[in-house]
Amino acid sequence: MDSYEVFLKNLHRTGKPDVYEAEMKIASEMIDWKQKWHLHGKNAGKGALKRGLGMAIHQWGGRAHSATCTVKVHPDGTVESFGGSQDLGTGTRTVIAITLADTFGIPLNHVKVHIGSNKYPRSGPSGGSTTVGGVSGPNRRAGLEALWKIFDKVAAKYKVPGDSLIAKSSAVWSKGKKVCSWKDACSLLGAMPLEVQGTGAKRDGLTSSGVGGVQMADVSVDTETGKIKIHEMVCVQDCGMIIDLKTAESQVYGALVMGISYSLSEERIMDNATGRYINADLKNYKLPRIGDIGELKVQMYQPDSEYQRGVIGLGEPPVISTGAAISNAVANAIGVRVSVIPLTPRRVLDALKGAES
């Protein structure tokens, strides 16, 4: 039976069968699953190289951590955010800036984000896929509160109904008509900036939890040396509402790279004879390079049903099923299961030898 069908028939065991089914369909088209599929070990080739397909699905929480922040709107229309969070390279700065720029309808470079210091309002740790949800909620709440205060002043000054106002394209609008520029609106604040505190996490729909995704791998195995080559990996991933598509995709690409790394080579070797961590160097702690990665394709899944779930963390989820997808692809290629990762030449050859004897 086609692995794809096995997954399909068992999706009712998951919390979100419809989402997975839709994601599987997209992923299978991206990797051309139906065209490439063959039964486990039934590779057409007769030489040492065996090619195989594998897939896996994953789920994760991603609930927002509890963070606070201060948002300042200056009389010149620029905005600053302060929060004791940090950016490990996962785009914390980017998502805060985009959240506020979107809220106020101003260009990204008019928002200055301050993070990475204990001086700033308390925020959560970077861990558990909680940061993006954690920081975007409080910034959005504080931003909206500031915006309403400014709208009140605009309504009073320009004699328009406050609840008709929206902010976009660096201006304040009422019923499709421009009321004033964003800068003019902020000049109504007087000499001092408007300062608003943001808090979280709240169950107000801005953030929620529960993400998933599908990954598929196309690999070759050299059955005479045990070496595995990744031809292609695809990932279709949901994470609720995406704040920045490029950052989200980048997170998934990175996860695939590290997923390939832990699947094929990355390993901390503790030696039984000495009790030492004997490969604590870059010679024997094997990390993949570009040539080991193959072609990666990422598709974020964000229909309205996902968008409405609010922001959910994406830090860890896409690294979860890479190992299973690759391992399944190897089993499909050689007809033998290599049950421990990383799938090193030693493990592959030992598994093949075990199957023979």
């Binding site: 070496k227 004879a273 993949p288 080991d292």
Partner: protein
């Protein structure tokens, strides 16, 4: 890292002076791609480092009466670019497989030949034999990357040189200088490596105060040569098994063959029986396969490296097929 003197001679004679003027413990610096990490981990702790890079006579490739001479300090990249090296396909295969641009541009041929074992017990301070309290840690511990041939003595590491198997197959010779200033000897590379019996020995015949100055390689007329290294990773990595072959064919029939395996034993391992088997036979997929089986027939794998027997068998087969341009597949 301990403090050390740094000497930068510009002639061979001057270098020998720095190496032999007292009982100072010395270390030779070539490309430095490995020595620096050995110094940092205190596995090697010389009182004086003698840098050979500024001795012009040690770099470059020259024509000799019956082949070429490559200076020990010639970088991999300079070898790759040199017109005289282009017939030595086995060497070019290895430079290619080294992959790391840093290693290619700073690593040297002599440095590679004298590369100390990568054995993690050695690198963690347990000596070249990897012993503790008289027992072999290699035998007791994690030996996944260790020797499967020639491992019945106390040495169980694998020789780390990438070029040695190819140079053995080419029947190369080494010009060794010192320890006395006027002493120079030409030694076949086949007698250069040793399997040490004690932790005080090295893995070559070099005595303190000596160094390899040149590698002399005979002509390759009529010889097909190739190296096949099996590495787990596509980037910088060390072979799990390697084979280098020089092959003379009469049509499809093997007239002469020299097969040497790397990364399987404490010394580059000459597969004599494989060569004997092949002479007079057609070289094809099945004879190459059989040649691989013969090469590992006497393998004695340790507790965790049985898989390397399969890899060694494969690299022998593929090196043979590659040298005859018959290799079709492999990752």
């Amino acid at each position: 890292m301990n403090s050390f003197e740094y000497a930068s001679p510009t002639t061979e004679t001057e270098a020998l002076g720095f190496l032999n003027d007292s009982s100072t413990r010395t270390a030779l610096l070539a490309g430095g791609t490995d020595l620096v990490s050995l110094l940092k981990s205190d596995v090697v702790s010389p009182q004086r480092v003698v840098d050979l890079k500024n001795i012009d006579s040690l770099s470059g490739v020259e024509k000799t009466d019956d082949g070429i001479s490559i200076g020990a300090l010639t970088t991999l990249e300079d070898m790759q670019m040199h017109p005289l090296v282009k017939d030595y396909t086995s060497l070019l295969d290895i430079i290619d497989e080294t992959r790391s641009i840093q290693l290619q541009s700073t690593g040297t041929l002599g440095g590679d030949l004298c590369h100390l074992p990568n054995c993690w017990y050695y690198r963690n301070g347990y000596g070249i034999l990897g012993m503790e309290n008289g027992t072999s840690l290699v035998e007791e511990g994690d030996n996944r990357y260790h020797a499967i041939l020639g491992n019945q003595g106390p040495a169980k590491f694998v020789n780390a040189s990438r070029f040695a198997p190819a140079l053995m197959s080419y029947d190369a010779q080494l010009r060794i200088l010192g320890p006395d200033k006027n002493r120079e000897e030409i030694v076949p590379i086949s007698s250069f490596y040793i399997s040490p019996k004690t932790n005080r020995q090295g893995n070559t015949i070099l005595k303190p105060g000596q160094f390899v100055s040149h590698v002399l390689i005979p002509n390759t007329r009529g010889i097909h040569s190739a190296s096949y290294e099996m590495m787990q990773m596509e980037g910088l990595d060390w072979p799990l098994g390697a084979a280098a072959v020089c092959l003379e064919l009469n049509g499809h029939v093997v007239r002469n063959v020299r097969m040497t395996m790397g990364h399987v034993a404490p010394i580059p391992w000459v597969a004599e029986e494989t060569s004997r088997f092949l002479v007079g036979r057609d070289l094809d997929e099945s004879s190459a396969e059989r040649a691989g089986e013969i090469a590992v027939a006497n393998a004695t794998p340790l507790s965790m490296n049985d898989y390397k027997v399969q890899i060694a068998k494969t690299v022998v087969k593929r090196a043979l097929l590659k040298s005859a341009s018959l290799l079709e597949e492999g990752l």
